[in-house]
């Protein structure tokens, strides 16, 4: 290894190896090495840094076999950088090397700035460390709970909850459904037919309990359809005749068989 002539004396290198684990990663070590150059960070010699770093990592590998991957990755990258800086193959390689050196220098400066920022923060009197706030604060806030927080929604929700709870306890009792059955319609139609001679609206044979449309329409329609079914039944037996003048028009009935001569 041609390290002894380019790198500084091996003495500080040994010291670095001893303190190897004290560094927070490769960049930390590089920054420490750069500071060792005793120049402004902007004028640091990247090549010297690279050689020092490679020497230290090489030395560390002699002492211990295992070395964390990021140290080796940095070493590989620096070896590449060194080749670009020392013996560039052409103009492009030389330019690559210069750009990479600039990037490294900028990263070191950024880290240095952060170190200084952390030091600046650390030097400030910190609350709870160096300066102290009021230990027994006083609170002048009084809490007034005299007002009620209610709204209509919560009232209604509560009512439903109450009804649901008691409803669950009651036995289920289906509401009786009193619809006019076909059987009832058949009886009523047979009875009333005797008093009728001419065509009469089917609606005239509805039960008297459904006097007008104020009743629930469901009951009325049920009665109407039962009466119609009863009428059809009686017509089949020839006891009465049905007619409807037009679609959806009123259905009419009269006693007697099917009226065939009507149109003639």
């Amino acid at each position: 290894m041609p390290d002894s002539d380019a790198a500084p004396s091996p003495e500080p290198v040994e010291a670095f190896i001893v303190r190897f684990e004290g560094f927070e990663g490769p960049l930390d070590l590089l920054l420490e090495l750069a500071r060792g150059q005793k120049v402004d960070l902007a004028n640091v010699s990247i090549l010297a840094l690279v050689e020092q770093y490679l020497a230290i990592v090489e030395g560390a590998r002699r002492v211990r076999l295992e070395l964390a991957a990021d140290w080796l990755v940095m070493a590989a990258w620096l070896a590449w950088l060194k080749s670009r800086l020392l013996l560039p193959e052409d103009e492009t390689a030389a330019e690559e090397g210069e750009i990479a050196a600039d990037v490294l220098a900028a990263r070191l400066q950024a880290l240095e700035a952060i170190r200084e920022g952390a030091a600046w923060l650390g030097a400030r009197p910190q609350l709870g460390q160096d300066v102290f706030p009021r230990g027994a604060p006083e609170d002048f806030t009084e809490i007034d709970r005299s007002r009620l927080h209610v709204d209509l929604t919560s009232l209604l929700t509560a009512y439903l909850a109450a009804r649901r709870r008691s409803g669950a306890k009651r036995q289920y009792r289906p509401k009786p459904m009193n619809f006019w059955s076909v059987q009832q319609a058949l009886e009523r139609l047979t009875r009333l037919l005797g008093a009728t001679r001419d065509w009469t609206d089917l609606a005239g044979f509805l039960p008297p309990e459904l006097p007008d449309s104020s009743e629930p329409p469901l009951a009325r329609r049920a009665a109407l359809s039962s009466t119609l079914l009863a009428g059809l039944e009686l017509a089949r037996d020839g006891q009465l005749a049905l007619r409807q003048e037009q679609p959806f028009g009123p259905i009419q009935i009269r006693p007697g068989p099917e009226p065939e001569p009507d149109h003639e």
Partner: protein, 185 residues
């Protein structure tokens, strides 16, 4: 102002005692303060100087329990007080009871219990009475002459209702048929 002290003009012992009492969570015992004082300093005179310094200011040095502490001057309390309103909520049982009374008034206690399916706790009724939301409304002319309950005008105000007719109808609330119950309000 004649009491504007130039920096660091006050005695170290006084500054230290002031800072320690300020920063402590509890009143600082005399013993602790004494151990902090430099040799030869007298705690009583330091405390007297400190008390004099803050006299007539916004804070004052007071003795509390076995120690010293700073407190804001009592006469400032009214100016510093800040009232935060945190409205209470009615407990669920009270709210349900109120709802039943609102919809079925006038209603007896037994009817409320019948509708809610649980017995009515005194605390729920007390909460409603205290908030002036319900009121006794005579007696039902029935065996035992049970007391009747109804809502108050305050109930309408509290819920922002013009009248009881503004409550949604029970038939609009209850999807399933309600079964035998008193007439709608």
């Amino acid at each position: 102002m004649n009491d504007t002290a130039p920096p660091s003009s006050r005695p170290h012992a006084e500054r230290l005692i002031e800072a320690v009492i300020f920063a402590s969570r509890e009143p600082v015992p005399m013993r602790t303060l004494a151990t902090l004082l430099p040799e030869g300093e007298d705690l009583d005179s330091v405390l007297a100087a400190l008390r004099a310094r803050h006299e007539g200011g916004g804070i004052e040095l007071v003795e509390a329990g076995q120690g010293m502490m700073f407190r804001t001057a009592p006469d400032l309390a009214p100016a510093l007080r800040r009232v935060v309103e945190i409205p209470r909520r009615l407990a669920r049982a009270a709210m349900e009871t109120l709802a039943v009374i609102a919809y079925h008034q006038p209603v007896t206690r037994a009817e409320i219990e019948e509708i809610r399916g649980v017995s009515l706790s005194q605390s729920a009724l007390d909460a409603l009475l205290e908030a002036d939301l319900v009121t006794p409304a005579g007696h039902r002319e029935a065996p035992g002459r049970p007391a009747l309950w109804a809502t108050t005008p305050q109930f309408l105000v509290q819920f922002g209702l013009k009248s009881l007719r503004d409550l949604p109808k029970r038939s609009d609330l209850l999807v399933e048929p309600a079964g035998p119950a008193p007439a709608d309000p």
